[in-house]
């Protein structure tokens, strides 16, 4: 039993670099509860008592000497493990097919069809866009929802409800006077630059989204660019100016609409495909803006969702709300 104690300490230490279990057993709050010596608890107390006295002594010894020794040992062990990992992986790399070879296992009929069939089957001249939103569309649906899950989690963590809302996590706006959010007229250079850069990044983001089927980019990169534009706007001119067109309500509407439209489009596409029904989707003109069939609306939906999420992250971090 005691060996196990030491062993489990070692394990927990090896994983986190701290001793956990003993400390928990001996935490003052629990002790208080066991020590309430009612007849009903006596069995429990007797069970724990013998073990605890030994455990306490061992723990105090550990806390005096053990921690240092194990900390050093742990560092050495961790470095050793990491070097072993790198070594093993390097050995693996040496046995892999050569870099850039045209007859590697990865070059087979799958990517061939993605390239050769891109224009006819998906209508997109950018094979990557065709692949991620048409051939393997299901993965990308999951990916869009990963971002959504993260946005919800961050919102749950950082959104401040109630009266403290406006000031965010920074309790008193006057205290952080240099803070740009609360002092919008801070930096002339930034504002002048933003005047040019904000519209530019919007336009460029839109361009990347709309041309995602025929040039590099697509929903995610274009959306991130647009999101960066909104963030820049609020950095340079303060949140109040962004809130004029982008508040929490708009955020929720846009995000829900985009994700629902995306899921419905994907569901339609998958349902039709799986049941072998001909879907009446016009693939458009390859190379033009209206091309790629469903890829264009999907890109637009994803783009706006990503832009919203990126700004949402920033706003939540800076002021605890949208």
């Amino acid at each position: 039993m005691k060996n196990k104690g030491a062993l489990s300490r070692l394990w927990s230490f090896a994983e986190y670099g701290s001793f956990r279990e003993e400390e928990f057993t001996l935490s003052p709050s629990d002790e208080r509860h066991i020590d309430t010596d009612t007849p009903e608890n006596r069995w429990l107390t007797t069970v724990q008592n013998s073990e605890r006295s030994v455990g306490a002594r061992a723990a105090s010894w550990f806390s005096r000497r053990g921690v240092e020794i194990f900390q050093r040992l742990y560092r050495v062990a961790a470095v050793f493990i990491c070097f072993t990992l790198i070594g093993v992986l390097l050995a693996v790399v040496a046995f892999l097919p050569p870099f850039g070879g045209a007859d590697n296992p990865a070059v087979n009929e799958v990517p061939e069809r993605y390239v050769a069939g891109a224009v006819e089957e998906t209508g997109a001249t950018n094979a990557v866009a065709g692949m991620i939103s048409a051939y393997r569309g299901f993965d990308t649906l999951g990916e869009a929802h990963v971002l959504f899950v993260a946005a919800c989690s961050v919102m749950a963590l950082l959104r401040i409800d109630g009266p403290a809302r406006r000031h965010g996590c920074l309790p008193d706006p006057e205290m952080t006077g240099e803070d740009m959010d609360f002092e919008p007229n801070s930096d002339l250079i930034l504002r002048k630059a933003a005047k040019i850069l904000v519209p530019l990044s919007f336009i460029f983001g839109l361009y990347v989204i709309l041309n995602g089927t025929s040039s590099p980019g697509g929903g995610f990169s274009g959306g991130a660019l647009m999101g960066a534009g909104v963030i820049l706007n609020s950095v340079a001119f303060g949140f109040s100016r962004t809130e004029r067109f982008f508040g929490e309500r708009v955020y929720h509407i846009v995000k829900t609409a985009c994700l629902t439209v995306y899921a419905l489009l994907m569901a339609y596409f998958i349902y039709m495909g799986a049941n072998g029904i001909y879907d009446h989707v016009w693939l458009g003109v390859p190379g033009g803006i209206v091309s790629g069939g469903l890829i264009l609306p999907i890109n637009i939906a994803v783009g706006f969702e990503v832009a919203c999420t990126m700004y949402c992250f920033y706003a939540l971090f800076r002021k605890g709300g949208l």
Partner: protein, 127 residues
């Protein structure tokens, strides 16, 4: 041994990627500072993506954007790894945002970034 090194040199992108992955893994595992842990996580992911993208590269071919209607598969690189890495980058930015938000909350509560110290402080309080 020389053959081993030669192979490593041939697969130089993978070699670099693996080293970056290892460094990131080490930082994520070992650093006690939460922010550095998160940066380590990003390095680890980047290493992975570099490895994956290197698997798709074929020497002397172009990016898979079909120009002039010339859809000859032997002219373009493999589009699969690119698509997968695109997914991966989005996943890693989501995870980073989540971890950073957790860091903010933890710092707000415990006024430190050291994960061990935070754990010790948290254990003392009653939930």
């Amino acid at each position: 041994m020389p053959e081993f090194l030669e192979n490593l040199f041939t697969n130089y992108y993978e070699t670099g990627a693996v080293v970056i992955f290892g460094i990131g893994f080490t930082s994520l595992l070992m650093h006690r500072n939460l922010l550095k842990k998160i940066i380590g996580l990003n390095f680890m992911d980047s290493g992975l993506y570099l490895f994956l993208a290197a698997k798709g590269y074929i020497a002397g071919r172009l990016a898979p954007i079909i120009t002039d209607g010339d859809a000859d598969p032997t002219k373009y690189v493999n589009p699969i790894p690119t698509g997968l890495v695109l997914t991966g980058i989005v996943v890693s930015v989501s995870v980073t945002a989540f971890l950073l938000a957790l860091t903010c909350r933890l710092y707000d509560k415990y006024h430190t970034l050291d994960i061990d110290e935070i754990t010790n402080l948290a254990r003392k309080e009653r939930d």
